[in-house]
Symmetry: C2
DNA sequence: ACCACATGCTGAATCGTGTCAGCAGAATGC
DNA sequence: GCATTCTGCTGACACGATTCAGCATGTGGT
């Protein structure tokens, strides 16, 4: 950091011929309140521009206890395929509110998580966003008790905290609605949540059921498997081999859709002529498949941005906010 | 941040019955140097533990001009498919060196980039990692002149800066070597860099040529297209339709491999029986294809970690460091 | 002529730490 | 026995900002 020592407030004050106090008031927008004449204001502003003055944040933080910095702590989202857009959203929203994001990835290790939280609090972050890769129920880490924080992509049902999650139930309804609109009458769902805490699966399922129920239809079959490409392939293949057929397939994510595509192709079934497919995520993977999968988008960037905005909004009343999931149309649904 | 005001150094000193100075020396590991008796050290340490003392970083930074914080500024890596692991690597390496990462994503907008750099410097980061999504030549932003910094996944040839990049040429040799070992004699390359600044393509190409040359072989054909799934599909299809055939295909990344797979399947050619395929990236996409593609891995996490380590290593002499790319074997090469 | 009040600014304390210079007292050298 | 060195600590200033309390000066009312 060999950088010319930058100008301080004292330099500005001297150069403008006023006291540090006056310069400080002007720079903090309290000129009117303090009845400072416009000519003085102009002199100070000229000095600021002239010297290229930039306030020293450490000094300011020492006085004000605020750092214009937010912490973002996550289990896996930084190195994750799609979820990492949450970081982009958070970073941009922070920037708009004149903050920067301090990032820490715990890899799911509670000790590392505790350490990272400690480090962030030592640095006086103005708040912490606690994010998870998969939507699920969590308990707020002890280190964050009493700290201003917002949960991102997760909820702590017991604790009535501010939390931002995708509207998976609405997404489920939208997915089913796409198939219904295409005249599909028998719907099979591929993918089942592996863990108890995960919320995405059950909610999407509830949405699907609710939407189908409006036409008096039930889910024809549920192909149970983890949410990965090979599992999707194997499970779908087994189901097809057992004589399973359906006009509509809803895959719990795009990777499952990829696996299902592979199994369908192997069985000589084509999309969308023989089977219409809808999935969740709206990842680029959905676009890469042929035909592109119609997918209900996880609004990751928006989730990240909203979490930061709520964190920095002093009027936020807490509670869970669900962000709608939009349908991104591909060519995987018969028309 | 409603958190009980934590203990200060003064509290520790009072509680231990020594001066602030003494306590400070002990906490900074200068007890021996300052010839402080072990009994005094013990008293202070007890007080620290007792009060749960944590130093105030803002105050310390104000004095020392160091924040135990590094900036990471990037164009697109936060929301990127594979590159975001660079963030994970950087975050972990920083943590190991008792630092935190302040992140900023510019989206390629030079104005935003300048703003982010300004904000980071105001916050006195101990250095800045400047990262790009795709390996390429860059010019160091003006705001980073004179600032301790390391380039990540990019180089500034004119400026002799510390820089960490993948060894694309070595990767190219490795890719070709895999095919040669499988007895492949005619190799076609898919994918051509779209921009002048991009370094990955030319270097991989050079490596491929060099390795093939050891057997007196030349690249049989170069299928020119951008590095995306649909481009890979279309370009490969056109090439096949024009009668193109080869025993070995090297795709410049995994997305191109996916596109090539689609075209090969459409042409009734199977992998690896008819065509052996090798690609670059080592992304999860490579695993998802059937058969999984043998792919030369981009060591993103390692790149990110190394960039941070070099940034914080006062003895680092600058210059470009290339990180080797390992081959991740799938089932896409005939044996 | 005197008080009250508004106007436009400033002095000085404060946030919590790091570190230079120095100061007693004990030990050592000759 | 006195100068010197070592031991073990402390006082005070600095870092760069924010902010409370107060101080001249002008202005209007009676």
């Amino acid at each position: 950091m060999t950088r010319r020592r930058s100008a301080t407030l004292r330099d500005v004050a001297t150069s403008a011929g006023v006291s540090r106090t006056t310069a400080s008031y002007i720079l903090n927008g309290r000129a009117d309140e303090m009845r400072i004449s416009s000519s003085t204001v102009a002199k100070v502003q000229a000095a600021v521009a002239d010297l290229g003055y930039r306030p020293n944040r450490s000094a300011r933080s020492l006085r004000t206890q605020r750092t214009a910095t937010v912490g973002l702590i996550s289990d896996q989202i930084a190195g994750e395929q799609y979820g990492s857009s949450m970081l982009t959203g958070a970073s941009l929203a922070a920037r708009e509110l004149d903050h920067l994001v301090v990032m820490g990835e715990s890899g799911g290790d509670p000790d590392l998580e505790r350490l990272l939280i400690e480090e962030m609090l030592e640095r006086d972050v103005d708040g912490v966003v606690y994010a998870t890769r998969t939507a699920r129920a969590v308990r707020l880490p002890l280190g964050l008790r009493g700290v201003r924080s917002v949960l991102l992509n997760c909820e702590a049902p017991a604790e009535r905290l501010a939390s931002v999650v995708p509207d998976d139930e609405g997404g489920g309804r939208a997915a089913a609605a796409v198939l219904l609109a295409a005249g599909v009458q028998d719907v099979v769902v591929v993918g089942q949540d592996p863990t108890l805490e995960a919320t995405a699966g059950p909610r999407r399922m509830a949405g699907i059921r609710a939407e189908l129920a409006t036409r008096g239809i039930e889910v024809a079959h549920h192909v149970a498997c983890d949410w990965s490409v090979p599992e999707g392939f194997e499970a779908t293949r087994r189901w097809l081999a057992g004589g399973g057929r359906a006009a509509g397939l809803i895959c719990m994510n795009d990777r499952l859709a990829m696996g299902a595509y592979q199994a369908l192709a192997e069985a000589g079934l084509s999309v969308p002529e023989d089977v219409s497919v809808v999935s969740f995520d709206g990842s680029s993977l959905a676009d890469w498949l042929r035909p592109a999968v119609t997918s209900v988008e996880l609004p990751f960037a928006e989730l990240g941005a909203l979490a930061v905005r709520r964190l920095l909004d002093p009027d936020d009343r807490g509670g869970v906010v669900s962000v709608p999931m939009a349908v991104r149309h591909g060519g995987s649904v018969r028309r």
